[in-house]
Amino acid sequence: MFDHSKAPDGTFFNFHKEPPVRAYEFFKLGMWIFLATEVLFFGGLFAAYFIFKYTWPEVFAKGSAELDVVYGGINTIVLLGSSYTMALAVDAAQRKQKKPLFWFLVATFGGACLFLVIKYIEWKGKIEHGFLPGTDLFFGVYFMTTGLHLIHVLIGMYFIGLLIVRAKKGRYTDEGSSHAGVEVGGLYWHLVDIIWIFLFPLLYLLGGNH
């Protein structure tokens, strides 16, 4: 394991030795750069969606009609809500309020769990009706995009779980501590939300019109 504390001065790897404010800026910029690659990662799938849809509109119309707008809509609201509580958690961390930070993180985690439950019900129904990733192009795109998004939700949950445990110990709110972790976790979670903001109308609403 690379030991950051032994890294020579003046290199990228010793940012833990930097003054907390500068380290905080480093962490955040690092996450923004990572999120940029995430956008491009999903961008390929969005490109595939558009090309396939305009190439085989009838396949997408048929497939999209099978999706339940209610599940998709509820999941959108759930994810927006958890993004909201995450923003409030970051706000609490900035104000060094330990208890609100903890509970807003728990609420965010709860939102993620609810999202997973609804997604599970939805996928189970699809699979039971014989709609699998290989059924047609629409379901290929549907399972790839929502599946990749789901993996991001799971990674985000791991991240938030870690934040909850550490917030409980006062790691982000103690005197002289840095809340960079909460901020960075929040950035990641908001990206997961943003991706769903685009996926919801494209998959659930727009196939049926063509």
Partner: protein, 188 residues
């Protein structure tokens, strides 16, 4: 509203009023409802798509600006916000221009080519020959489609037309292709 410089010593991030978060989540929920309503309108396939993407972009901007505190970020961070957006827009625009301007329907082309029976060359009849990739067939197909009547004796186009025909003969018309192969295949 005047804002402090967030680089100020000892300050991590900018604390904004909680009302901002309440307002943003309200706007996001309302815009979700608007998206659902807007999808019921009939603006044509492209119109509906553009409207939905536009609303989603507004929502994403709200999240980036207020939830992710993009409002208080410096130029470097904004460079990394814009660069994937610009790259993605370029990718989508290029793909739309490309696919929007060609007769890309591979299956339609294949079906038509079998019935129309274009001329081919000797190579096409060799069994087990590696098929051109879908991309290749597509491109050659287009040329063959548009230029088909002019192909006889057209040396410049002969080779490309011939390549396209290999696939067609695999589809089940080897005998006919053989007859014309010597003359039109472009192998002088």
């Amino acid at each position: 509203m005047a804002h402090h410089d967030h680089h100020e010593e000892g300050h991590m991030g900018h604390i904004q009023s909680k009302k901002v978060y309440h307002g943003v989540i309200l706007a996001l929920v309302v815009l979700t409802a608007v998206t659902v309503a807007a999808a019921q309108l009939d603006l044509g396939a492209l119109g509906n798509d553009l409207l939905a993407v536009a609303i989603a972009t507004v929502k994403a901007s709200l999240v980036i600006t207020f939830f992710m505190h993009g409002k208080y970020e410096d130029k470097v961070t904004w460079a990394f916000i814009w660069y994937p957006i610009i790259l993605l827009a370029t990718l989508l625009a290029a793909l739309f221009i490309d696919y929007g301007n060609r007769d890309w329907d591979l299956f339609k082309y294949r079906a038509a080519s079998v019935t129309e029976q274009h001329h081919g060359d000797g190579h096409g009849t060799t069994p087990g020959q590696v098929e051109p990739t879908a991309q290749g067939t597509e491109t050659h197909g287009e040329e063959a489609d548009h230029g088909a009547p002019a192909h006889k004796g057209d040396g410049a186009h002969g080779e490309e037309a011939g390549q396209g025909d290999e696939t067609k003969q695999d589809d089940g018309q080897p005998a006919d292709g053989d007859d014309h192969g010597q003359n039109d295949g472009g192998h002088e």
